[in-house]
C-alpha cells in the first residue's frame, strides 16, 4: 500500500521502528506513565544524526582557533570573509518599508503573482513561447528545497512513473527530499573521479536504460557538489536521449547567473528543453544569486503541453501546498519582485551578480596558482575547470579530517569546498592545508 510505504520510509528516516500490523510506531507507543511522573511519551525517540552540511557550520562555530576557515555551507562571502546583502536588496527593502500602502495579508496559495511571472521570465526568457502560450504554471515556494519538495509531492501523486534518477553525487538533501515526498530514488553516473570531470558515457548509459517516463533530476548549471557541468554539445545529446526515452526532466536551478556571471547563459540548458516543445519541471532558488538565503524565496515552474493542462496542474499544486504551509512568506518574494520589475534595479543586480561570480572565479585561479607554486602533487586543473560555488577537490575523508584537525579547515567530508568562503588572505592557508594533507595523510 502506498501509504504504508510512505510511513515506512518516514519511519526509517527517523530511525523509528514500525509495526505495520497495528500501524503504531513502537518506538513511541503511548507510555502508560504521564509527563507528571517524569517519564516522557517520547522517551523511545532516537536522536537523529546532525545534518552533515549544516553540521559543519556548527562545528566551525565551536572552534576557537583564529585561523579557522569555513568552507562548508554554500553561502557567499566577501573578500573580507563577511556575509553580503546586495545593495539592490537593501534598496528594495527600503522601498518596501517606505511604501505606506503595503500590507502583510496572506498571499494566495500559489504565492505572489508578480513574483511568479517574473521568475518564469527569468529562467525561461522573456520571449519564451511556453510563457506566451500560457503553458507554464509557476508557484512560489520555500526556496529551492521547498520547490523540489512540492514538485516531488505533486509527481508522487499524479505522475505514473514514481522513480527519479539523481546524479551521482548530488546535493546531500536531494535523496531525502524525494524519498519523503514519496518517490523512489535511483542514481545515474555523473562524476568521474579519474578525470575529475563528467562521466558522459556512464550518464548516457544509465539514463538510456531508465524505464520510459522516469523522472530525471538535472542541475541546470554549477553542479553541486562537483562543479562539473556538461558542455553545450553534451547538453544537446542529453536532451535528445531524454526526449527519445520519454523521460521527464526536473531541473534544480540554484545558481542562475552565479556560475558564469550571465543569467542567460546559465539558463541555456533549461531553455533548450523548453525549445523542443516538451514538458519539464524547474525548481528555482534566489538564495544565492540574490543573497536571500534566510528569506526562503524560490519558485517551482511546470512547463506543460498546453494551457488547459497547465491550469489543472496548478490547481493540484495548490492541494499539495495548502496542507503543508497554507501559503508562502511574503517578504522575500516582494524583494525579488521589486528588483526584477524595475529596469535600473535589475541592471544593478546583474552587475552585483557578475561581481560575485567573478570573485569566485578569481579565487579558483588563486588557489590553483598557490598549489602549483607549492608543487603539490597531482593535477589540480579541475579547480579552474569546475564552475560555480563549489569545487570537488578529490580529497578523501581522511584527508579532510586531517585538514580540520590540524589546519581548522571546515568542509564536508566528500572533499567539497565552497569557493565562496575563500578570500585572497585565506587562500595560502588552504593551499598549505591541502598540500599537507596530500603529502602526509593517506
Amino acid at each position: 500500500m502506498a501509504s504504508d510505504r510512505r510511513i515506512g520510509v518516514l519511519a526509517r528516516h527517523l530511525g523509528v521502528e514500525m509495526d505495520f500490523e497495528s500501524h503504531t510506531a513502537t518506538a513511541i507507543s503511548a507510555s502508560p506513565t504521564s509527563g507528571f511522573q517524569g517519564n516522557s511519551v517520547f522517551s523511545h525517540v532516537v536522536r537523529a544524526p546532525e545534518d552533515p552540511i549544516l553540521g559543519v557550520t556548527v562545528a566551525y562555530n565551536k572552534d576557537p582557533s583564529p585561523v579557522k576557515l569555513n568552507l562548508g555551507v554554500g553561502a557567499y562571502r566577501t573578500d573580507e570573509g563577511k556575509p553580503l546583502v546586495l545593495n539592490v536588496v537593501r534598496k528594495a527593502e527600503q522601498q518596501l518599508v517606505n511604501d505606506r500602502s503595503r500590507v502583510k495579508e496572506y498571499l494566495p496559495i500559489t504565492g505572489l503573482a508578480d513574483f511568479n511571472k517574473l521568475s518564469a521570465k527569468l529562467i525561461f526568457g522573456a520571449d519564451s513561447p511556453a510563457i506566451q502560450e500560457n503553458r507554464v504554471t509557476t508557484v512560489q515556494c520555500l526556496s529551492g528545497t521547498g520547490s523540489l519538495r512540492v514538485g516531488a509531492e505533486f509527481l508522487a501523486r499524479h505522475y505514473h512513473q514514481r522513480t527519479i534518477y539523481i546524479p551521482q553525487p548530488t546535493w546531500g538533501n536531494h535523496p531525502k527530499v524525494f524519498t519523503l515526498a514519496g518517490l523512489s530514488v535511483k542514481t545515474y553516473r555523473y562524476y568521474d573521479p579519474a578525470t575529475r570531470g563528467l562521466n558522459f558515457q556512464g550518464l548516457l548509459e544509465d539514463l538510456g536504460s531508465a524505464p520510459s517516463g522516469a523522472i530525471v533530476l538535472l542541475h541546470a548549471c554549477a553542479h553541486n557538489p562537483t562543479g562539473v557541468d556538461p558542455t553545450p554539445q553534451q547538453w544537446e545529446n542529453i536532451r535528445q536521449l531524454i526526449r527519445s526515452k520519454g523521460l521527464l526532466p526536473f531541473f534544480d536551478s540554484a545558481y542562475q547567473g552565479f556560475a558564469s556571471g550571465s543569467l542567460d547563459s546559465d539558463a541555456q540548458p533549461v531553455r533548450m528543453f523548453v525549445a523542443d516543445g516538451g514538458e519539464l519541471l524547474v525548481a528555482q532558488s534566489y538564495a544565492k544569486n540574490m543573497g536571500l538565503y534566510g528569506e526562503r524565496v524560490g519558485a517551482l515552474s511546470i512547463v506543460c503541453r498546453n494551457a488547459d493542462v497547465a491550469g489543472r496542474v496548478e490547481s493540484q499544486l495548490k492541494l499539495v501546498i495548502r496542507p503543508m504551509y497554507s501559503n508562502p512568506p511574503i517578504h522575500g518574494a516582494s524583494i525579488v519582485a521589486v528588483i526584477l520589475k524595475d529596469r535600473n534595479l535589475y541592471n544593478e543586480w546583474t552587475i552585483e551578480l557578475k561581481a560575485m561570480a567573478d570573485r569566485i572565479i578569481s579565487m579558483r585561479r588563486q588557489l590553483f596558482d598557490a598549489l602549483r607554486a607549492r608543487g603539490t602533487p597531482g593535477d589540480w586543473s579541475h579547480i579552474i575547470k569546475q564552475i560555480g560555488m563549489f569545487t570537488f577537490t578529490g580529497l578523501n575523508s581522511e584527508q579532510v579530517a586531517f585538514m580540520t584537525k590540524e589546519y581548522h579547515i571546515y568542509m564536508t567530508s566528500d572533499g567539497r569546498i565552497s569557493m565562496a568562503g575563500l578570500s585572497s588572505k585565506t587562500v595560502p592557508h588552504l593551499a598549505d592545508a591541502i598540500h599537507a594533507a596530500v603529502t602526509r595523510a593517506a
Binding site: 501509504s3 510511513i7 518516514l10 519511519a11 528516516h13 527517523l14 510506531a25 513511541i28 503511548a30 506513565t33 509527563g35 516522557s40 511519551v41 525517540v45 536522536r47 537523529a48 545534518d51 549544516l54 553561502a75 556575509p83 546583502v85 537593501r90 527593502e93 518599508v97 503595503r102 500590507v103 502583510k104 496572506y106 520555500l142 528545497t145 521547498g146 519538495r149 499524479h158 505522475y159 538533501n173 527530499v177 519523503l180 520510459s212 517516463g213 535528445q240 526526449r243 527519445s244 520519454g246 536571500l292 538565503y293 534566510g294 528569506e295 511546470i302 506543460c304 503541453r305 493542462v309 489543472r312 495548490k318 499539495v320 495548502r322 496542507p323 503543508m324 512568506p329 517578504h331 522575500g332
Partner: protein
C-alpha cells in the same frame, strides 16, 4: 545516426540501380513508388511525416504492401522474367485481397507496443486513440495479438526506425493529461468570489484576517517600527539553523507559558511542530478546514470528538468529555488554545480543568493549535535533544530552514519591553473593536428579529469568528441574495465587519435564518 543514413542511402541506390539494370518498368516503378511512400511516411517536413496520422499511415502501408508489391512484382515476374502474358488470375486477386486485410490489421496493431513513446512524440496512432487494451480486444484474438507482438522484432515492420531520427516533438498529448481540476479551497475561495463580485454592498466575512473600521488591512505600528529598526541595523540574510531563530523560539515559549514558568527556567521546553506517524489524533467537530488535510497528508489517522452543539450554539461539553474518555489511551488531542476556529466557542476555565483531568487520566497528549499557528507546548523532560533532532530531520527535506524576516520582527517586538507594551496596546485596540462589533451586531439582531430567538451566543463566543448556526442553504442565501461572503459552515469573520455594516448584516442573517430553504439548524 550517420550509420543509419549510410545504410538507408546505400540500399536505396542499390535497389534503384537494380531496377534500372533489369530494364523492368514495373520493378522500377514499384521501387520508386515505395521510395516515395516511405519518404512521405517518415520525413519531417510540412505536409509529410504521414506516420503521425493514423489514416495516412495506414494508407501508405496498404498501398505499398498490398498493392504495389503484389501488382508490380506480379507484372515484373510474369512479363519481364517469365515472359508470360499478363492475366488477372485468382492467386493474384487472393494475394492482393489478403494483403489488404493484413495491412489493415498491421496498421491498427503495429503501434500497440509503444503507445507511450508515440504519445511523447505526438504520433496519433490508432492504438493511442483507442487505447492499448481496447485496441487489442476490438480487433484480434489472442493469437493475432501474440503474432503481432512478435512482429515487433521483424525488420520489415519497423515503425520506429527513421522516425526517431528527427528531433521535432509534435505538441499533442501531455503526460499530465489525466490530471483533473482540483476544487477551489473552501476558505480562500471565498475571498476570490468576493473579489469577483461588483455589488457595492458586498461584505467579506470569509478569511480570518483583521480589518480596521474602514475595512482595510492593518499593519501594526510595532511591526513597522521593528522593520525599520532591522533595516537600520543592516541585518544579514544568512540561513537560519534548521530549528529557526533562537531569539524567536525563546520569546514565543515565554509568551505561551510565561517567563517565570519553571519549565522554561529549566530549559525543558521545546516546540513540537509535527506528530509522529502512526499516532492517532482526535480533532474537534468542527475544526479549521485545513486540519483534516494536514493530517491526511501526513498520514496520521484521525477521528473527531464532539464539540459544537447546534441546539445551544455552544459547547457540547458532555459529549466532548465522553469522547475523550472513550479514545484509546495515549491519543493526541488537538485543542484550540483559545478562540476556537470556526465556532468561537471556548470552554470556561472550570471546563478546561475538567478537560485537563480527563487528558491526564487517559494519558492523552494535548496538542495546542494557538492563534492559527502550529505551535504546541508540552511539559516534556530531558528528551529535548532527541525530539528536536527528529524535528530538524523532518524540516530539512521540506524547506531546509525557516524564513528569517517574520521571526525577526516577532523577536524584536516581543523581546523589547517598550515595543512589547505597545504591541499589547494595539492588540487591546483590535480585540476591542471586535468586541464592539459583536455588541452592535447582537443589538441589531435583537432589534430586527421579532421571533424571540436568542442571539446572545454572539456575545458569548470569542475571537475573530462566530458560528452563526446558519446551515449551507442559509449561508448560500447570505451570499447570493445579500452579497455577504462567508464559509458554508455558517462561520463569519467578525474581523471583516465594521460598525457601519452591522445593521445590514443583521438584516441578511435574519432573512436567511427565517426564509432560506433548507433545514433549520442541523
Amino acid at each position: 545516426m550517420e550509420t543509419g543514413i549510410i545504410i538507408v542511402a546505400a540500399c536505396l541506390l542499390l535497389s534503384l540501380a537494380m531496377g534500372i539494370m533489369f530494364q523492368s518498368p514495373p520493378l522500377l516503378a514499384a521501387l520508386l513508388i515505395s521510395f516515395a511512400l516511405g519518404s512521405v511516411y517518415s520525413i519531417e517536413l510540412p505536409f509529410l511525416r504521414w506516420k503521425k496520422h493514423a489514416f495516412l499511415a495506414a494508407s501508405c502501408i496498404l498501398i505499398a504492401r498490398a498493392m504495389v508489391v503484389q501488382l508490380a512484382f506480379f507484372v515484373h515476374i510474369q512479363k519481364f522474367v517469365l515472359g508470360k502474358p499478363i492475366v488477372i488470375c485468382r492467386s493474384l486477386v487472393f494475394a492482393t485481397a489478403f494483403m489488404c486485410f493484413f495491412s489493415a490489421v498491421i496498421a491498427l496493431f503495429k503501434d500497440i507496443p509503444d503507445v507511450d513513446g508515440d504519445r511523447d512524440f505526438g504520433i496519433q496512432s490508432f492504438s493511442l486513440s483507442l487505447g492499448q487494451e481496447k485496441g487489442k480486444v476490438r480487433l484480434g484474438s489472442g493469437n493475432l495479438t501474440a503474432w503481432f507482438h512478435k512482429e515487433k522484432s521483424n525488420p520489415f515492420i519497423n515503425t520506429k526506425s527513421s522516425g526517431r531520427i528527427s528531433m521535432a516533438v509534435a505538441v499533442n498529448v501531455s503526460r499530465f493529461e489525466g490530471i483533473t481540476m482540483a476544487p477551489p479551497d473552501p476558505i480562500l475561495g471565498v475571498s476570490e468570489a468576493f473579489k469577483a463580485d461588483n455589488d457595492e454592498k458586498k461584505l467579506n466575512l470569509g478569511v480570518g484576517a483583521y480589518r480596521t473600521e474602514e475595512l482595510q488591512p492593518y499593519v501594526l505600528n510595532v511591526v513597522k517600527k521593528a522593520e525599520n529598526l532591522m533595516l537600520e541595523r543592516g541585518e544579514y540574510k544568512e540561513y537560519l539553523p534548521i530549528e529557526g531563530l533562537a531569539a524567536f523560539n525563546k520569546v514565543t515559549a515565554e509568551l505561551l507559558l510565561g517567563a517565570d514558568n519553571t519549565v522554561i527556567k529549566q530549559q525543558r521546553l521545546r516546540l513540537i511542530e509535527r506528530y509522529f506517524p502512526g499516532a492517532k489524533v482526535l480533532i474537534s467537530s468542527p475544526t479549521w478546514g485545513n486540519h483534516k488535510n494536514i493530517f491526511n497528508d501526513a498520514r496520521v489517522p484521525w477521528s473527531e470528538y464532539r464539540y459544537y452543539d447546534p441546539k445551544t450554539v455552544g459547547l457540547d461539553f458532555e459529549g466532548m468529555i465522553a469522547d475523550l474518555k472513550a479514545a484509546p489511551e495515549g491519543s493526541f488531542i488537538l485543542l484550540h488554545g483559545c478562540a476556537h476556529n470556526p465556532t468561537g466557542i471556548d470552554p470556561t476555565p472550570e471546563q478546561w480543568e475538567k478537560i485537563a483531568d480527563v487528558i491526564q487520566e487517559k494519558n492523552h497528549i494535548p496538542f495546542f493549535d494557538v492563534a492559527y499557528q502550529g505551535f504546541a507546548s508540552g511539559s516534556l523532560d530531558a528528551m529535548q535533544h532527541q525530539v528536536k533532532s527528529q524535528l530538524k530531520r523532518l524540516a530539512r527535506p521540506m524547506y531546509s530552514n525557516p524564513p528569517v524576516h517574520g521571526a525577526r520582527i516577532v523577536a524584536n517586538v516581543v523581546g523589547d519591553p517598550t515595543l512589547f507594551d505597545e504591541w499589547k496596546a494595539e492588540m487591546d485596540m483590535m480585540a476591542g473593536r471586535i468586541k464592539g462589533v459583536r455588541q452592535k451586531l447582537f443589538d441589531s439582531l435583537s432589534a430586527k428579529d421579532k421571533s424571540g430567538k436568542d442571539w446572545s451566543f454572539i456575545l458569548k463566543q470569542i475571537g475573530m469568528f462566530s458560528f452563526t448556526g446558519l446551515n449551507k442553504a442559509q449561508s448560500e442565501n447570505m451570499t447570493n441574495k445579500w452579497h455577504v461572503y462567508m464559509t458554508k459552515d455558517g462561520r463569519i469573520s467578525l474581523a471583516g465587519l465594521n460598525l457601519a455594516k452591522c445593521e445590514y448584516l443583521a438584516d441578511a442573517i435574519v432573512d436567511s435564518y427565517h426564509n432560506a430553504k433548507g433545514l433549520n439548524s442541523v
